[in-house]
Amino acid sequence: MALGLEAGRHSRGVQGKGDTARAMEIYLPIAGLSVNVLVIILLGAAVGMLSGMFGVGGGFLTTPLLIFYGIPPMVAAASASTQVTGASVSGVFAHMKRGGVDFHMGAVLVVGGFIGTLFGAVLFELLEAWGQIDTVISILYVVMLGSIGGMMMRESLTAVLASREGKPLPPAKRRHHPLVANLPLRWRFYRSGLYISPIAPLLLGFVTGILTMLLGVGGGFIMVPAMLYILGMSANVVVGTSLFQILFVTMSSTMVHSLTTKAVDIVLAVFLLIGSVTGAQIGARLAQRMKPEYLRLFLAGVVLLVAIRMALGLGWRPDEIYTVQLL
């Protein structure tokens, strides 16, 4: 985070760059400006490590960091979703091998996700014409990251305290939300161990599809808690199925962005990917050595930090009062 902010300030002073910094510069054809390759790769690696550790795509970090660095918001969101595709591929394969993907559930989520990305594209254009896209994106980030980070923080703190005192927590009862139980038309999802209406995962996929389109996030950080606490899926297929859905929805969002906003910068995406795919593998190995409750506590901390930074950004007088949009 500090890295991104630092770099953002640096990129303003184009004249004052040293020779070494200039040697690392590369021009992004779609974003239409030059950036430091090393910063982009390191940013990808940092995000990739988190995604490897927690099984989330990491888009919720990539997009704001790229914006802090000076990349136009639309290009940042579009290219981040391309990056999340790459970051989730190897995870999906790994989970498939050990049977951790519920394809039936995944398919329903993906269908919802496709519809969501299309709807999100329309929403994106409307909000942009209205001039409120940045504000809506920031508020969405604050609300979602804040609430999910807070929930995770509380949950992991209790778990950490319990394990310190040596008292194991009573195993949480797995059950779906009463609203889900009331929906009509029930299907059996064997691997998830559920007999519920497909409308619930369809809606969940739809919502994450919209978020993917607007924020460039995979939606894993919403998907995972929603699968656990709203759908009540069995924990061993949650991360794999979430990654499966993320893979397809970010692919769809890359396509939709390419066709509508034309803001996918392939050069930016490739450098982000180089960092993040390596980072993801390192993160996955690190995760095996850490206690899961500490891992969750750490993720909760990161998520809350981003949320707080975004919230402050909304309340503080911004650096730029004026913004320019091409007609």
Binding site: I26, Y27, L33, S88, S90, G131
Partner: protein
């Protein structure tokens, strides 16, 4: 006798005086680069604009002669939005449309602009950042317009897209002149017109805008941009394939380790 003298005087002086009025100095101008190619290593460019003033019969006039150089990029219609604090958060409230905002504008002059031209001349030739013709649309009161103008110009100035550099045109013996203008990496493609003005006694004597610098993406950067614009479906599919491939390769490589 008297008449003849007057006639002789007229014949002797008329043509030269007339000549002095019509024969203006000539400006010869050139630039260090007529083409700027945007490639992967492009981090911006510094252009040197230079030239000479050819005075009629080689006579350098007395008094100050000043030169101003303006480099102008293509214009674009833009919407400028202004954030205001509403219920504790900063959101876009007002906006103004400018029909012809230059994407790039830099002016260098041998002395501060207000010292060499009067306000009217400066307005006619659009000399200086506060005199840009942005062509706002709709009915806007002048205070509001001023605020948006200042905000817009300031934003571009800090991004290196607008620049006003007084005293940076170096003059040698009132004949040769030279100026350096910086172009940041975020410029748009297009034809950039350099206009050189010879200024004396507050008035523009000669203006010359026959130097054009073409900035465009070439090679790979041009290819990618064209692909993204004209073959979006293919481009999107390519982006997806590349990310799948990179993710898969990394997974394979690390499994071997």
């Amino acid at each position: 006798m008297m008449l003849r003298l007057i006639l002789a005087a007229l014949i002797a002086f008329w043509p030269t005086q007339g000549f002095a009025q019509t024969a203006l100095p000539k400006l010869v101008t050139d630039v260090s680069q007529r083409e700027i190619n945007i490639q992967s290593r492009f981090t911006g460019e510094t252009l040197t604009l230079f030239g000479a003033i050819i005075y009629p019969r080689g006579v350098i006039p007395e008094g100050d002669v000043d030169v101003a150089v303006v480099l102008r990029g293509p214009t674009e219609p833009v919407t400028v939005r202004e954030k205001q604090r509403v219920a504790g958060i900063w959101i876009n409230v007002d906006s103004i449309d400018f029909r012809s905002a230059p994407t790039y504008y830099a002016i260098a002059s041998s002395r501060p602009l207000d010292k060499i031209v009067d306000a009217k001349t400066a307005a006619i030739y659009e000399l200086g950042l506060n005199r840009l013709q942005l062509s706002p649309t709709g009915e806007i009161d002048s205070a509001e317009l001023g605020r948006f103008r200042t905000g817009f110009v300031d934003l571009n100035r800090r991004d290196g897209l607008y620049e006003e550099a007084p005293g940076t045109v170096a003059m040698t013996d009132q004949v040769l002149w030279r100026a350096r203008l910086a172009i940041p990496s975020s410029v748009v493609e297009g034809d950039y017109v350099a206009e050189t003005l010879l200024i004396r006694n507050g008035r523009v004597i000669v203006a010359n805008d026959n130097v054009t610098v073409t900035i465009r993406k070439t090679g790979f950067e041009r290819f990618i941009t064209l692909l993204a614009q004209n073959y979006s479906l293919f481009y999107g599919a390519m982006a997806v394939m590349i990310s799948l491939l990179l993710g898969w390769i990394a997974g394979m490589a690390f499994n071997r380790l």
